[in-house]
Amino acid sequence: MDSEQLRHIERAARLAYEWGRARRALLGFAPSLLLVALGIVFTTDARWTLVFGFAMFLGGVLLLWYGQEPRRAVLPGLLAGLVPLTLALCAKQMGHVCSGDTCTLVCLPACVLGGGVAGLIVAMVGKRRQRGPGFWLGAAMMALSTGAMGCACVGYSGLIGLALGYAAGSAPVLVLAWLRG
């Protein structure tokens, strides 16, 4: 057996490893498609839910396939993203709230509030488990794409509100952690 043959076997083994991880990630994250289906059922504009749902699924699969720190961000990010998603979908069903002569849409505040709670959850989990940048980025991507499935119902303002809320929710914990070294 020459070294070229051995290199070929090693390449095949590496490919098998990557494919094994990818398959595992796809199968493991497949249940999250139920969330996308639920989002489509309860939203009025299914296109954006589909777009962000696909982004969420693809991101989750990629993080799981890559492994290490980013892999550990998938579940906390997804669970945190459920808060703005649920709030936004509920707000969408509610429509608007009237007090006296004025009526306001509750979708935007729901997205900001949900984003804040999601940011706080991710920050607390990340701080408690002392995770690195891979976790923070992965969790943010998961939480924002999950929340965006619901918040896209009010257009860009909903998405911006979600992102700002997320930043506002996670910033205090991050700043505190940074100050304490």
Partner: protein
Amino acid sequence: MTDGERGGAPLWDRPARSREVTGRGCIQKSVIRAVTPGVGAAYSRVPACHQGRLASNLAGADSRQKLGQVMDHIDPPALDALVARLAEGDRSGFPTIFRALWPPILRLCQSLLKNEADALDAAQEAMEKVFTRSSDYDPQRAALPWALAIAAWECRTTLRKRQRRREAPPVEEEGLSELGVSAGETEEQFAQRDLVRAALDALGNLPELDRETLTATFWEEAATTSGATLRKRRERGLERLRTSFRRLYGF
């Protein structure tokens, strides 16, 4: 045949490195003895270390030398840690793990299949399966026995395929004549091969943990752990193996 008749302590009570082992063929002989005490008389006619000699002839000094060049000597705990990290997604240790696992897996396949081409194919398949399943690796278990158990399973599959296609006798006869193995030995070789195949079939019916434990017990290079827990696992595994063998072959 009882342990006393075989002489010495029961197999599972002997230290891995001090068994009556001088070559891998003899380790297989131990497998057969442990699995089939009832057929010990027939098996005793097989020359000692016959399979090991055959495997060495098949592998050839040149290929063994080349294999030696690519083999990484790595401590079992270090290998366990590297495989655990690979399971987590740390790919930096991949080449080291590959170089550490390839030689023992190839040797195991050579000793079980006794055909260089089949052994290479089975070893490659086994390596691919090991790495495909590496994400499922349990860090509490030793990596080498785990990988060898997968390889042994792959060899069993190859043997079954060979059996189904009825390829084995002509290929082996041809291979043996090329190697200068005498006709008298060939018959014994066939008997031994059948016993090994039967033992592997019985082994294949056991749970994965039992397979790993027994692989670690009978292949010297996989015996990386020791202690009371391993001894008890060996006892339980051997008992189940005997039961499985009796169920399959009636003795």
